[in-house]
Symmetry: C2
Subunit: 523 residues, 2 copies
Amino acid sequence: MPHPILINGQWIASSATKTFQAVNPATEETLPGEYPVSPWSEIDEMLQVAADTAKEMRGWSGSRFAEFLEAYATEIEARADALVAAAHEETGLPVSPRLKDGELPRTTNQLRQAAEAARTESWRNPVIDTATGIRSILGPIGPVVVFGPNNFPFAFNGIAGGDFAAAIAAGNPVIAKGHSSHPKTTRIFAEAALAAITATNMPAGLVQLVYRTSHEDGYKLVSDSRIGAAGYTGARHTGLKLKAAADAVGKPIYMELSSINPVFVLDGALAERSEALADEFSGSCLMGTGQFCTNPGLVIVPNTGAGQQFVEAVAARFGKASVGTMLSASVQQSFAAGVATIQKAGAKVLAGGTAGGGKGVSFSNTLMTVSGTQFLSDPEIFQTEAFGNGSLIVLADSVEQMAAIAESLEGNLTGCIYSDTTGNDDEAYNVIEPALRTKVGRLLNDKMPTGVAVSPAMNHGGPFPATCHPGFTAVGLPGSAARFAMLQCYDNVRPARLPATLQDSNPAGIWRRVDGKWTTENV
Amino acid sequence: MPHPILINGQWIASSATKTFQAVNPATEETLPGEYPVSPWSEIDEMLQVAADTAKEMRGWSGSRFAEFLEAYATEIEARADALVAAAHEETGLPVSPRLKDGELPRTTNQLRQAAEAARTESWRNPVIDTATGIRSILGPIGPVVVFGPNNFPFAFNGIAGGDFAAAIAAGNPVIAKGHSSHPKTTRIFAEAALAAITATNMPAGLVQLVYRTSHEDGYKLVSDSRIGAAGYTGARHTGLKLKAAADAVGKPIYMELSSINPVFVLDGALAERSEALADEFSGSCLMGTGQFCTNPGLVIVPNTGAGQQFVEAVAARFGKASVGTMLSASVQQSFAAGVATIQKAGAKVLAGGTAGGGKGVSFSNTLMTVSGTQFLSDPEIFQTEAFGNGSLIVLADSVEQMAAIAESLEGNLTGCIYSDTTGNDDEAYNVIEPALRTKVGRLLNDKMPTGVAVSPAMNHGGPFPATCHPGFTAVGLPGSAARFAMLQCYDNVRPARLPATLQDSNPAGIWRRVDGKWTTENV
């Protein structure tokens, strides 16, 4: 008997004929607990509940959603030990500092920031044009389906992470699709969400959970007429099929598909602090066994003595560093395949390159190099994403070649440039930056991309294939909530019939753009 | 020898082997002037020029684009007589008030509002988070391809209309694809644009023009790696193919595909002002021979004596009103096909229903009715868009049935509710409005949807198939410009390297969100 699924506030026995179990990647043992692969009938029921819930919640004030999000954060904290234990077992990620002290507080912090965005309506962009009598505001888009990834069992979980928090902040019900690698973690979140729903008197259909569906049912789900939008973080191949299904019926789908996060290190920076940079890069690249969306997978350094020395220094660190456990056998296989592709294309392996070396599912810390000329001979193949504890260093012959490499890149979440502190690299920076700027969502100076602060100015996004629309961020309120919204305009609508936030009086002091000026005043 | 095309500031002879000519719909005569169907080699050249131009303009201040847009508006005004004459000849639209006094001033006004948005950077949403050192802003997305429609030769022209103005305001070069029905009008705009480019010392590649391509080359164009995004207003069938091509490679494409703009008339409103409403509706529906994106093509009235009287009053007006010239034979054929589909599904024709009746290409003013029950038996077929001087009136049995009809609708640009002025209809309004609200971009009270003010609060958008993303508007600055932007985040970037608009000092007094508060002050 598999674990039940959460439909309309009830834990319902699934009629699934297929089930799955998670595997502990550190021991390679199958974990207890069978979880269902839900048939379409169950998804269909959830969709109907979600659509009814969206109708029920039309016009509700942001504070109701804020109360739920805050209660949920508290319920999560009450289950912290169980969540951390489950996630550790299911993902191999270290308990401390990663899960307990890093990712869990980040997750509850994000839920609380989403509550703040809901309460202050900072995501809604109210615009009032008194001359024409037209007013507009962002409103909920409708039920949101969230597919969480494997690499952040808390902070990006479909039922607790960034997309979830954003969708709820914008006043939408969520159908969460848990990731198959950590169902128990997801189940505990669902229990906490249900407790928070009850505590704050929200509709039972606000949060529903399905553990797994067939691929075909996934395509049906994201293109169903009852949903408003979907969010997906995961593998490019699967993502593109979901995208095609959603696009065909004009349903927005926000995706995070692939990013190798180029880092450019300029001459002066190497001259000034080569050893420190080797430490910083190695630490960033191997952290979490390299399984971050923002992992620096491509480094471009000058093909000089100093550049070659940097490569050797990194290779030595990769060789010495302990090898982490990967999230799953399929992550390890994909990583091995990515490394093999890059190697076959002509890159030289300086460290690692072989399976094993760590506890359980693992692959040695892998460093490869290639010349700038070779990279430019086939930029596509050398941009193959190898998601894990490895990186490719390109030895570039000139600043112009560095800029050409930047121009040859696909869209990425991030791009970094390291330069010296005295201005010697400024000329080179000015050549490379314009090329890099349009290829990445977030541009960094002198800092590795791995950290993604939950800041209103954050952009965790970028041109395709990093995401599927370069105008949006998946992290950082209120921007992330605005993705799950539709623009609602009121033309000549009688004053009493306007949403409270668009009426003349503004007792809550919400920021509104009135006749071109931002203000918290009444009209 | 066909007319040349505009590539990189030069009028270049096309190597086209196919050409086309426009037709005067009022006389049904072919107009002089052959225009080329450009081969891919010419599109490819434009794409390269546009990509190079986008690079050249990186980081340019908004005021440069503002100067161009203002100069362009002036150049258009200098050619007003020629533009009006050409458009009248090519579209059959009346010179006055439509073209000369309405659409042309609207177009230059829109260009000037776009200039204002560029100069004040109101579309850029600068966000500064001093605690984390992260700052972000919208920046140009890259070359934009604009496909203009047939029905607004000025205000939505690919080289002068809303998408064009928005794309330039956001700092992007434009490749305009003129509509085949009015090439001469488009050519005069291109001459004006080129004069403005020269006058303001902008790059020659800022605005380029192709008159026509094969369908296949259109798909290649919107999915080319060198473009940033595309805009398209036109037929749903063609639009969906362009969308599929762009979506497959993650290129944003903004489309306006279809909208029937439902109007609900409640009991009290009919009791209070039935004759006036019949006038108002007939005027709106037949204006411009009904060829507006926001034409009211579906009216829902109570199935009462008053409702039936309203239907008869409208039918009488449709019968008496003069029949306008349609834009082209293909518009007339599509309209006839739409009417036939709706009639075949069971609607009764109360007025019109036959081809001809006006000058040149025309179709009689057509009014159909159907019962609410019948409508709900096949809502899809009764929502067939019949683009032209006609409408379908649904006689609904109850307020609940009206709400069910609202729920059954596809996405639309607009939705209207007419109610009485004393509050008798408020209960019915409160039942229908929530259902209608999520289906339309713009909700109106007591006002026909045909007018689309260029207001910052306007939403000329809506859920699919009205558009392909309900979060954006195609009309109204600064929102329309934000569509052609990417989100650019700066993390730990050295102060002097930030874009001027994100630096601490804010001498231009641009509105920025600093630590959660909107301000024009320095940091």
